[in-house]
Symmetry: C7
């Protein structure tokens, strides 16, 4: 069983502080407007273009990304795991090694 995001949406797992420190970017709790880090669990088919084709997402499964803290919609699966469904355009950057 899995959640498959549609179109220009992506399914994200928000990383907690410990996981963030492994990723290497430190985001202080006091900065409410600062972006959050998350792992891409699944990406959708991509944004619909004017000619009916879909634009392949710039991010892929497994990427660690930065996104606006108040973007997206939270969802919890049967195992109690919480995910976020966000739009690809709300993702600001990819963290690379």
């Amino acid at each position: 069983m899995a959640i498959r995001p549609l179109g220009d949406r992506v399914l994200l797992k928000v990383l907690d502080a410990q996981e963030k420190s492994r990723g290497g970017i430190y985001l202080p709790d006091t900065a409410q407007e600062k972006p959050q880090q998350a792992k891409v669990i699944e990406a959708g088919e991509g944004k619909l273009l004017d000619d009916g084709k879909r634009q392949k997402p710039l991010i892929k499964k497994g990427d660690v990304v930065l996104f606006g803290k108040y973007s997206g919609t939270e969802v919890t699966d049967s195992a109690g795991e919480t995910y976020l469904i966000a739009k690809e355009e709300d993702i600001l950057a990819v963290i690379t090694k």
Copy 2:
């Protein structure tokens, strides 16, 4: 007798708690902003593109989907069954097995 949604609209049957638990994604009642689960009863012809063609919907009859709780318009048929007519773009994800 049936309700056939038009264009980029879909006809949904919202799933109650018991049905949700079978689908495997748990959505707590306390989370008012959280998305709801529903079964796709029928999908429309698809979104109208600039060139007059219609974009085939990403979802199909029978899919179990997540959508924004306050999306769509409620309608009740003669048997007392309540459905929801929503836009395809308000559907966030498909639940797969």
Copy 3:
């Protein structure tokens, strides 16, 4: 003498409760936000596309449709009959048998 709706507009005759019960979809009076049923009296030439062509409407004369209750503009003819002129995009669904 007749009213011919223009472009992406349609001329509708709203169905009263008795006619609705024949159509089979029950819409309780208490639900103010719920869609209404109507019969399509005439459809316009269709929506203007970017290239100057018109998109043939998805509905046709005689269709029974659901539309948002506060959509459209009311008009009364010389016989005292009241009609509604609405945009095709405000029609949610077609009721089929």
Copy 4:
């Protein structure tokens, strides 16, 4: 001397009650939001499309039309006659015989 409306605009002569009864559609005074009847005196070159062509108007000189009561701009000529300059898209329907 004449007023030639530009682009997607039309020059209308609003019909008074007596003229309306000849046209056959009765529009009660009490209904402030109801559309008005008018005769098309002149139509412009049509709406500008993306490719620089103009879309021929759906209405023509002499047509009796219904339009939203608060649409358009009033103008009075030297003979004291008052006209209305409206956008073609604000015209809801044509009254045919």
Copy 5:
């Protein structure tokens, strides 16, 4: 020395009451929302289309036009003459003889 309006802009000389009566359209002072008459002093290159071409204006130097009273930006030259720079789309109609 001259003012050359850019793109979809036009340079207008608003006509005073006496000049208006020669043009033949009477615009009472009491009607604050009514359009004004003006002479086209110069028209710009025309509106930029999606493909980078410019759409030739529907009006030309010397035309007497009607435009919305509160449209445009006033400018005064060294001789104390006041002109108006407006967008072509704010011009409602041309007065013809």
Copy 6:
């Protein structure tokens, strides 16, 4: 060292009263909403069109232009000179001789 404006932006040097009188267009101080005169110091690559090409600006280095008084962003260089970075579309007209 220089400031190179990007895309559809232009770098302007606002002209003071004395320079304006040489340009010949008189703009009274009392008219707060009136446009200002400026010299074009540098123009950007031009506006991005839908197909990825850039639209060559209608104005060029050295032109004296009129622009809306509250348009643009002020910037001061190391010599204490103040410039304005504005969008090309906020420029109303070119002053020609």
Copy 7:
């Protein structure tokens, strides 16, 4: 480890007063609305065009740029360095030598 901005976004390092004086453009602290200087650390793939291609950014790694003071989102890396992720369209100009 690095932050790779996505699409039409750029990663900027805001320059402090000392570095600004080397760049040669003086931006007084009292001017709250004035643009800031920054160095481009990395640029994204470019803006998505209608046909699915991406528009190569006008700026490149190493450029010193001016941008609107309140544009962008701040992010701090594990070394305590603070960066800004902004949209390319919020960058006003490039400082050249």
